[in-house]
């Protein structure tokens, strides 16, 4: 797609680089904002990961050893929220900020001040979330949010005032993500270098275009739902209260109208990253560029219409569940096509196995597994058994850790030399990779068996018959957790120094971003590069 030649690339800028704290707080530079996003998401990753470690430590043995039940439930809730909104989405947004302008030859994001605002809204949301976690420990603070990230009423109506802080956290996150999405869409549609059509765009930009559109559509219903929840809690309305003619299921519909596409919001950017890594290390172009774009669009659109497969057991009619079952299973078509295209890109390439490529291969294999258990879950008779059991926990971690998180790790290793100008330590990168793969599979594979044997999810205490698998799972999770110390070390080490990286960091990499120095200057492409597509591609 991108045999682009650059006729005219002019570096340097009209203003100098700002210094001191103002550079970061008041930033209007996509690279600085991207860096801030990435740093915040790394902090959140450790916070959410620490919670996961506590959860697994508690579940290591039957009985209640470490945590109060409500604190445990709160950790379950916040682990999900922090990982989804604090770690994965900001990391993806950070990479979008860094890479999209470089990839499409734009001088910056289309609306730089708004870009800064969406970042700081994220920080404000994180602060609000921390407040909601701390409040229950203060005198008169009430119960912690013990509802799980789904925040289902009536349970969420019972919760203490920390729920109100969480509701406003959702509002702040909503504002942040919507503004960021607007910015990304406008940048992609309006700021491409002359000569770059939509179908010449790098696949990462396409994945974010679909993602951003999804976010704009799904976040308002979520914000609306929690607003109604706030009214039910404090102003006596009856949206989710049968006594007043409302229905708790309404919240579930609104939540999952957001919650299901959100899964694709997490997945797509990482899939976009793979669309760069695999061609680079296979040294041949992406197989089926058009169908990959089509698949992403299809995932986005179909994904908007299948939300209620999370509610098979709540009392939907036969017609409704049949529709949602078929719709959900149909999603496997574009997702399958996506995975197929990536495998076909590797096929007959000349592969080398640097850390990003190792991650890409691991992702394809493990994500396929998570996708296939997804088809099992979509088939309703089976789902009646799997629903709300550990099988579901295993499934979505198999979908989201490879599909979203590991894709971002791959992106970090792929682009870190470009961002910092230094090569990372390949040996440490590989150690990290293998620790992640072993830890991850050890953690979540046994959970399938737990679910099938009848262990419900979100319980703090369990019967001794579930002990063995839980122990294995906990040990795996500790390995998985420890791996991240290596990750942190690699990143810090790379930022501080290392072998110099050239413009073209990877032998097989294609695209505008690799024509720039590593690290790129503060302002890039202030005069847009002229793109001429190689004749054979047209």
């Amino acid at each position: 797609m991108n045999h682009a030649t650059i006729a005219h690339a002019h570096e340097g800028g009209h203003h100098g680089v700002p210094h001191g704290w103002r550079r970061w707080l008041f930033s209007t530079n996509h690279k600085d904002i991207g860096t801030m996003y990435l740093v915040v998401s790394l902090i959140m990753l450790f916070l959410g990961g620490g919670m996961a470690m506590l959860i697994r430590a508690e579940l290591f043995m039957p009985g209640i050893q470490l945590l109060q039940p409500d604190v445990y439930n709160n950790l379950v809730t916040n682990h999900a929220l922090i990982m989804v909104f604090g770690a994965v989405m900001p990391a993806a947004a950070g990479m979008a900020n860094w890479m999209i302008p470089l990839m499409i030859g734009a001088p910056d994001m289309a609306l730089p001040r708004m870009n800064n605002m969406s970042f700081w809204f994220l920080v404000a949301a994180a602060l609000m979330l921390v407040i909601s976690m701390v409040v229950p420990f203060l005198p008169g603070g009430g119960t912690p949010v013990n509802t799980g990230w789904t925040l289902y009423p009536p349970l969420s109506v019972q919760v203490g005032m920390s729920m109100d802080f969480l509701i406003f956290t959702v509002h702040l996150l909503g504002i942040s993500s919507i503004l960021a999405s607007i910015n990304i869409i406008v940048t992609i549609l309006n700021c491409r270098a002359p000569g770059m059509g939509l179908m010449d765009m790098p696949i990462f930009c396409w994945s974010w275009l679909v993602t951003a559109f999804l976010l704009i559509v799904i976040l308002p219903p979520f914000a609306g739902a929690v607003t109604m929840l706030l009214f039910d809690r404090h102003f006596g309305t009856s949206f989710f209260n049968a006594a007043g003619g409302g229905d708790p299921q309404l919240f579930q519909h609104l939540f999952w109208f957001f919650g299901h596409p959100e899964v694709y919001v997490l997945l797509l950017p990482s899939m976009g990253i793979l669309g760069h890594i695999i061609p680079t290390f296979a040294r041949k172009p992406l197989f089926g560029y058009q169908s990959t774009v089509g698949a992403m669009l299809a995932v986005g659109t179909i994904g908007l219409a299948v939300w209620a497969h999370h509610q098979y057991t709540t009392g939907l009619s036969l017609a409704a569940v049949t529709y949602f079952m078929i719709g959900t299973i149909v999603i496997s078509i574009p997702v399958g096509l996506l995975v197929f295209n990536y495998i076909a890109t590797m096929w007959r390439g000349a592969m080398t196995f640097e850390t990003p490529m190792l991650f890409a291969i691991g992702i394809i294999l493990m994500f396929s597994f998570g996708g296939l258990t997804g088809v099992m879950l979509a088939t309703i008779p089976g789902d009646i058994q799997y629903h709300d059991s550990y099988f579901v926990v295993a499934h979505f971690h198999y979908a989201l850790i490879p599909g979203a998180l590991l894709g971002l790790y791959a992106g970090v290793f792929y682009w870190l030399p470009k961002w910092t100008g230094n090569m990372y330590d390949e040996r440490l990168g590989k150690i990290f990779f293998w620790m992640v793969i072993i830890g991850f599979n050890l953690t979540f594979f046994p959970q399938h068996f737990l679910g099938l044997a009848g262990m419900p999810r979100r319980i703090i205490d369990y019967n001794p018959m579930f002990t063995e698998f839980n122990m294995i799972s906990s040990i795996g999770s500790f390995i998985f957790g420890a791996a991240h110390l290596v990750f942190l070390y690699v990143i810090v080490k790379t930022v501080r120094g290392g072998a110099r990286a050239g413009d073209q960091v990877w032998e097989g990499a294609k695209g505008l971003e690799w024509t720039l120095p590593s690290p790129p200057p503060f302002h890039t492409f202030t005069t847009p590069p002229q793109i001429k597509l190689a004749q054979s591609e047209a």
Binding site: G160, R283, V330, A350, M351, E468
Partner: protein
Amino acid sequence: MHGGSQFKRLMQFLAVALFLGVAGHVHAEYGINFPEPATPSARDIYQIHMRTMTIATVLLIIVFAIVSYSLYAHRKSRGFTPDQNFHRGWFGRWSWVLVPLLVLGVDMTIAGSAEEVLKRLWLVPKDKDMMEVKITGHQWWWEYEYLDQGVRVESRYVPQEKAGSLYLRDVDNPLVLPINTKIRFLNTSADVNHSFWVPQLGFKKDAIAGYITETWAVIDKEGTYRGQCAQLCGTWHARMPIVVQAVTPEKFTAWVGAQKTRMAAAEAEAASGKVWSKEDLLEKGRDLYNKNCSACHQLDGKGLPPAFPPLMAGGGFPAGENMTKPLQERGFFKDGKIVVGPVPKHLDIVLNGIAGTPMQPWNQLNDLEIAAIVTYERNAFNNNTGDVIQPADVAKARGATAPAKSD
């Protein structure tokens, strides 16, 4: 639990698991697949589960095989030169049609096989002679009402000391059901959402506050089937086990008879007009309070603010106005603290609950039980009012305030 022995078991288990291989057959002791089904629907589900799992495994093996071959063969270190025109060949041009068609075929196979079973599971037969059981989820116990037999059972978890290895899998009163009988289950909840799940029976339905969700089953094997609440329902979600005891219809009839005798005796005792001593009421009241009320208001009466107020006079209750105002109106809340209000209001709260708060009506308890609970609450936790409430007082209060019972 002793860490050492647990670890030993784990090591033994790891050895066994390695030996068997992970994707092996159902292994009773370690449970890596569904437990043995006990109803036709659970068997149908089991079959569909095995079929989709087989398809998934085959697909996964194919993907692994292709990727593995590629990883081996198409490496730069083996000197393989990339095929730059691979994506332009006929395969590259048509794969976007071929792959989706292939996946669609697999999808339709899976969905098609599920369709018929789905219909059977979803459409509850409308037979007139079906047995009906109403299941109500409470925080954190189950209530079973046999609508045709007029029997009511409360089912609570058994603490670890008594339950032993069945901890969190055992209850005080199981749900007794006859085999070979079509049973309709009417699920609902008194407070937050719960979900009734016994894997071997092959159904799971959320119990939604204020709504009835229906399911049905025919159990065809005698036995004891265990499950748990599957929908996060707050603090003690983990402590809502379910035990279903499937017995022959004859045994079931006998069991119903015994339950009726028990209930009638309790009813007669409550209605006998007997005047109870304070000590007796307090003793009964403590048991009943611990069983019915302590989940929310706690054993020591300190409550769990802001959802559940303390019952202890002088206890602080930091909560929103929606919680404190109804209490204030009834005389139980003053200057930010809980006070012991008037007896009639106390009875009113227990009998009718407080709309808009988690406090539910407890009018399913009989007069004696309520009298005992209220007496206990007014004297325990250093409340020491000295009040004694007799069943007759409760009967009067019930007549005065209770709305016409709808069922």
